[in-house]
């Protein structure tokens, strides 16, 4: 486990301050086919390597973050506030 996470609001904090929600995925449209929803709810890639995950800074600022890390080497590549991440995702999709 990556043991130090640099929260964009609080700075460097130990992993014990966070709760991990799992892989970041985009929510399908409400009318998306059953198979799409099924994959969204139940199926995970679980890669051995780089992955983006939702982390909640429960004992700190209580913000949801997107942590990109390597599940094998524990290296952390970046931490973003989830709201900012979502906004950039929406902006990218619109362009």
């Amino acid at each position: 486990m990556a043991s130090l996470i640099t929260c964009p609001h609080c700075g460097s904090r130990p992993k014990e301050e966070f709760s991990i929600r799992g892989e970041v995925r985009s929510r399908p449209e409400p009318a998306a086919p059953f198979e799409t929803w099924y994959r969204y709810v139940y199926v995970r890639d679980n890669p051995k390597g780089r992955q983006k995950e939702y982390w909640h800074h429960v004992l700190g600022c209580r913000r949801w973050l997107v942590v990109e890390r390597d599940t094998l080497t524990h290296e952390v590549y970046g931490v973003t506030d989830a709201a900012a991440y979502r906004a950039s995702e929406v902006k990218e999709a619109a362009e």
């Binding site: 904090r13 301050e17 209580r62």
Partner: protein, 182 residues
């Protein structure tokens, strides 16, 4: 059972009546004022500007757009001022009866606190006026530096006894004493 509400501090009974005082000491505030200020979405900067009248050590950072205003005693005019200036842009709630405030001071304050919180307490990383929510032993607390050798710890009332006992145990080797502020 009916009766008038009587204020009871969560550490009543946990501190001896004649505690004595070594150079490392925990001062427990008997009736602090704790206000929570949470900005509405998009109003974070505007709310921060209205809190300019609060001293740097009394204004605690909680998260983006969220603060605690912590004072030794109730200050109704400041409370009214904050409610008037920030009221339309933020949720301002009085948390005084739900929180406990401890002040740890002395030459070994940093060494004692370093055993309990994961923060980097070096003055360059954590200067006077800086604060944040963090892990305190096993519970959540807001920890701020209010002096060179003085820290203020703001906890949920129900965590107060546990946190206090933990703090006193970590301070044993430095003869840490505790008492209510008088």
């Amino acid at each position: 059972m009916n009766g008038p509400f009587t204020h009871r501090h969560p550490l009543d009974g946990a501190i001896s009546a004649n505690p004595g005082r070594s150079e490392n000491h925990v001062t427990v505030l008997p009736e602090p004022m704790v206000l929570s200020v949470a900005a509405l979405p998009g109003e974070e900067q505007a709310v921060a500007a209205t809190l300019g009248g609060v001293s740097a050590t009394a204004l605690k950072a909680v998260g983006p757009g969220e603060w605690l205003v912590v004072l030794e005693k109730a200050d109704l005019s400041l409370q009214r001022d904050i409610a008037e200036r920030a009221g339309a842009l933020a949720l301002v709630t009085d948390q005084s009866s739900g929180r406990a405030v401890l002040r740890l001071q002395g030459p070994k304050a940093r060494a004692i606190l370093a055993k309990i919180v994961p923060l980097d307490l070096h003055p360059e990383a954590f200067a006077i006026g800086q604060s944040g929510n963090t892990l305190f032993a096993h519970v959540s607390a807001n920890v701020g530096r209010i002096g060179e050798d003085e820290f203020e710890i703001v906890l949920m009332r129900s965590f107060a006894l546990f946190a206090f006992q933990e703090l006193m145990e970590m301070g044993l080797e430095f003869r840490l004493t505790a008492g209510f502020a008088t």
